[in-house]
């Protein structure tokens, strides 16, 4: 039974998504409950899967019994199992949140809305587990198509943002596919482990270098890495409040994970192409993203825009950790990835509550509601501490391990980049806090208590930020002992 867990985790949301239109033919409001139930089951199964992987080692699943280099192989190792727990829990919270905030205009199409969410989640499960480069492309595209539609449902500006995302995302996917076909033409295999055996002897080939470049640019577009991030803030700002938490916290992180897989599992950490170590490139790109993203966030007035650019800068910080090429840096990067996913979810829950319940869009609007929104204020402070990286939040320990890793390697530029982006993050959160606490205008409107689902999502994510901080030592230990790539 336990060796079937990866594929069960994938099939649960997929089957629910496919059967949703039939099950909810008569009762549209069932769709929300079905999605909730499926994701709750999925969260439990993913925890069982993580436990199983820790106890008995990684699970390899061969589809239809075709052995690895020929067939498609899925592997549930430590890294993918940890990320999967995160994915299903955040997906569950996202659906809880969507129940209250889903666009009113949807009405009869609400069933399709949840179908798309489940489809998105099942595609991300595929991206996390797969060890086949082409399979990865297919799942990235399924996830992307579901997210274009989920962004577009808001109507108005979201349509245009979704269209831009579609154009850029498809360009990214085409580049990735082109890269995969270059590598396939050279090595004759699509399996990651098999390719890892063959690539080291072929690194002088221009086709391999070109293919890798295309793949990295393609995935870079998907994960909103700095020169290619243009689609992301617009798309996540104008997306309906109910979808942006799931999209912002998971879609870009999953693409980043695919990049990590290719760097460490297909190539290896110490590889240099034309005498340029590949990890040095990752680190430089990460440092640029961390600083530029945070500076752009500082220039925004719309709170969702600020949070989206914050996400851009945090992708950079994760890459700095990954790019150090030692165990501490890698564990720090992955730990920060977990934190960042939770923080992004919390931020977009906050922005969603602020918009749906209080009608707040910009920093100036925040001043109206300050004292009447205790949940909003407290959660914003906790998430702010996490984003800035103050103890005892998870953000602090993530950055701590990343900086320790960078110091081990003597990469002072990385340390400077992390610190600079931390300062810039502090600056834009000070702007937000100022908006809340200054209270220039007294508000005449009396706001009612926020609904339970808002309290639940805000509470759980804020608590998770603190818990990740308090339990940082065992979690980092878990990453160090079970989730490290081969040869690091």
């Amino acid at each position: 039974m336990s060796h079937q867990l990866p594929v069960i985790l994938f099939l649960l949301p997929l089957f629910a998504a496919i059967s949703m239109p039939v099950l909810c033919l008569k009762h549209r409001h069932w769709s929300h409950r079905i999605a909730l139930a499926i994701l709750a089951v999925m969260a439990l199964v993913s925890i069982v899967n993580l436990y199983n992987v820790i106890e008995h080692g990684e699970v390899r699943y061969m589809f239809s019994g075709w052995v690895a280099p020929l067939g498609i192989e899925w592997v549930a190792d430590g890294l993918s199992s940890i990320v999967l727990v995160l994915l299903s829990v955040l997906g569950f919270l996202g659906v809880v949140f969507a129940g209250t905030t889903s666009p009113k205009a949807l009405d009869g199409r609400i069933v399709h809305y949840y179908t798309l969410i489940l489809l998105l989640i099942s595609a991300m499960v595929g991206v996390v587990f797969t060890r086949d480069l082409f399979n990865l492309f297919v799942f990235l595209e399924v996830a992307a198509i579901a997210s274009y539609a989920l962004i577009g449902v808001a109507g108005g500006r979201a349509l245009f943002a979704a269209f831009r995302y579609l154009i850029l995302g498809t360009l990214g996917a085409s580049l990735y596919l082109l890269g995969v076909s270059y590598l396939y033409a050279v090595t004759g295999t699509l399996n990651m482990a098999d390719m890892a055996d063959k690539l080291p002897f072929l690194l002088s080939s221009k086709a391999v270098v070109g293919g890798l470049l295309f793949m990295f640019i393609g995935l870079g577009i998907k994960m909103a890495l700095v020169p290619f991030h243009a689609w992301m803030p617009d798309a996540y700002t104008y997306a309906p409040s109910s979808t942006s938490p799931i999209l912002a916290s998971l879609v870009t992180k999953v693409a980043l994970l695919a990049w990590v897989r290719i760097i460490f599992w297909v190539l290896s950490a110490s590889i240099a192409i034309y005498d340029i170590p590949i990890l040095l490139l990752v680190e430089i790109v990460g440092a640029l993203a961390a600083v530029i993203g945070a500076s752009l966030a500082l220039a925004q007035r719309n709170i969702k825009m600020i949070f989206a650019y914050g996400g851009v800068s945090h992708i950079g910080i994760i890459l700095i950790g990954i790019g150090q090429g030692n165990q501490t840096g890698f564990a720090g990067g992955i730990f920060y990835l977990l934190n960042d996913a939770v923080m992004q979810a919390a931020l977009f829950f906050l922005a969603g509550v602020a918009f749906c319940h209080y009608g707040v869009r910009t920093v100036e609007d925040m001043a109206r509601v300050g004292k009447q929104a205790p949940w909003l204020t407290v959660c914003l402070i906790i998430v702010g501490l996490g984003m800035i990286g103050l103890p005892p939040t998870g953000g602090f320990f993530g950055k701590w391990y990343i900086i320790l890793g960078a110091l081990d390697e003597g990469n002072y530029i990385s340390v400077a980049a992390v610190l600079l982006s931390t300062l810039l993050t502090l600056a834009y959160f000070v702007k937000l806090f100022e908006g809340i606490f200054r209270q220039t205008t007294r508000s005449e409107v009396k706001y009612s208590e926020i609904p339970f689902s808002f309290k639940l999502t805000l509470g759980v994510t804020s608590a998770a930020i603190l818990i990740l901080g308090l339990l940082s030592a065992p979690i980092v230990q878990l990453i160090l002992s079970h989730a490290l790539p081969p040869g690091l």
Binding site: G152, R157, F163, I167, L177
Partner: protein, 125 residues
């Protein structure tokens, strides 16, 4: 120099791929009409599919089904099926993406009464 140019023309397929890819990319970047952008995007996708077919083409080979189990298998006689399977999947993905793109275009047109990017941006301000 002449050799380099000559070697390019010996592989007309790859030349065609590069031309289609860049042409599509050029359309995506320069045209303001959203449907034209989609056409450019579809050209880019198609060029990659064309490349996949080109690398797997083989003269005088047949489908990879063994006619008899007694003869020894000569790999030269059979086409590698995998790139073709990838091509099929990529076509399906491309069609789905284009479908979503066209639906978005239609919704944008209903909302703003225009498909010109600059006109829409003016209305958004």
């Amino acid at each position: 120099m002449v050799d380099a140019i000559g070697s390019i023309f010996q592989r007309p397929n790859f030349l065609t791929f590069v031309i289609i890819f860049l042409w599509g990319f050029y359309i995506m970047v320069t045209r303001y009409n959203l449907v034209k952008k989609l056409i450019g995007m579809y050209l880019v996708q198609t060029s990659v599919i064309f490349f996949l077919v080109s690398i797997s083409a083989k003269r005088g080979a047949t489908v990879p089904v063994l006619l008899s189990t007694t003869e020894t298998v000569q790999a030269v006689n059979y086409v590698n099926p995998l790139p073709h399977v990838m091509t099929l999947t990529a076509i399906v993905v491309g069609v789905a993406t284009t479908g979503v793109g066209l639906a978005l275009c239609a919704a944008i047109y209903r909302k703003y009464g225009s498909l010109d990017e600059q006109e829409i941006l003016e209305k958004l301000e």
